[in-house]
């Protein structure tokens, strides 16, 4: 069971209160009609899936119901930080950029 710090509630709560949304910092293209099929596919379907550090979006579904971001290791599952929407991670590697 992960123990997750919600940056809005400023509290550690159990994983069951949260849900994962997926890779963080994905920006919806401003002009989708100008994209190539490849670029559109990449926006829709292609995710980083790193074996290592990952920035991902979570939601505190059964708490404050706000979205936030997390930097987590996908092998050890260790959570290195959680941060609010609109903020950038403070921990990065070549892979996660």
């Amino acid at each position: 069971m992960l123990h997750i710090h919600c940056p809005y509630c400023e509290e550690y709560r159990e994983e069951e209160e949260f849900s994962v949304v997926g890779e963080a910092h994905i920006i919806r293209p401003l002009a989708p009609e100008e994209l190539t099929d490849q670029e559109w596919a990449s926006y829709l379907f292609f995710r980083k899936n790193p074996r290592g550090l990952h920035h991902e979006m979570w939601a505190h579904s059964h708490g404050c119901r706000k979205f936030f971001n997390m930097t987590r290791h996908t092998v050890t599952y260790q959570i290195l930080e959680t941060y609010k929407m609109g903020q950038q991670p403070s921990i990065t590697t070549e892979d996660t950029k």
């Binding site: 069971m1 996908t74 599952y77």
Partner: protein, 416 residues
Amino acid sequence: MQKYSGFGLLKHSMSHHENWQRVWRNPAPKKHYDVVIVGGGGHGLATAYYMAKEHGLTNIAVVEKGYLGGGNTARNTTIVRSNYLWDEAAHLYEHSLKLWEGLAQDLNYNLMFSQRGVLNLGHSLQDMRDIERRVNANRLNGIDSQVLNNAQVQAKVPILDCSKNARYPVMGASWQARGGTARHDAVAWGFARAADALGVDLLQQTEVTGIRRKDGAVCGVETNRGFISADKVACVASGNSSTLAKMVGIDLPLESHPLQAMVSEPIKPILDTVVMSNHVHGYLSQSDKGDLVIGAGIDSYLGYGQRGSFDVVEHTIAAIIEMFPIFSRVRLNRAWGGVVDTCPDACPIISKTHIKGLYFNCGWGTGGFKATPGSGQVFAHTVAKDEPHPLAKAFNIDRFTSGKLIDEHGAAGVAH
């Protein structure tokens, strides 16, 4: 290869079973192979077997970082069925099911393949509509499939709570009588033994750390045991496929998630079929040893750790107990996780890549065990002939760009 038979068993009992031939060799890597298959799970080993048997390629190797069948092959809940909704998927899985039906004889290895039937329960009106649609689609594709009502389900599984007051009311089910289970490690071992007998080198404890290219084409793999040159490299690494693809800068639309399963202590025979409920994420059968084999839903975060969270296990157990109150006192023996490579449309990728000589077979996610022989056969064809097998064509990586997805989500492919 020493042939296994009842007579052989008797003969070897005379010498206290001390003179059995080794099941496969443990060779040192050669300098060069025509094809290197990365991943010694069921799919990789089946690929090697069919490549040697049907395409006459015997200078090939299977490279496995751990031991044969140590990945998802020996971590799954062994459910085999072919009742998928869309034509492309249905044909592929049905092809595989047909191979299962003669596989133990073909490999001369007891796979304990048991066609005990598979029930997919419907708990709501929508479930039942989806089931009817899928069963009709299956029948049009020549796949045995039936809709059962509440009373028929109850007759098949007397211990299932089919009463009106059930927490998850059973409104009916789809039934595939030819579906069932098989012994998963035996599948890996059977293919390994048969491939080895045809001259395939099985290289265990050999991890691929890089894929070398020359003039835009593949020329071999870097491993912890040195460089191995190869004309073609075929990657069949399930949850770790993205990691291999990244070595050559290829993006795959995969996400690796933990998927968990568990077994109970062995009990007397009580359940003679497979019961699946996509709705509550619980899957159940009883092994020949007597333990209840239970599959959970996936953990929704990315995870390469071969373990997931307890609340997923708890949720599954709660659902199983609601459906089978009789099991409330049964104790669990073991629980574990695997890393499954899920694809956006819940269908596999069996494909050439833009790099000459490099192929991928992945994205089987939560349900690839049932496809082991079929996957191996069509992938062997795809690699050996450098053109997709007719059944594999639709599973090209280009479908994510063209939009021609094969959306098995919800319909049949939610899990296992």
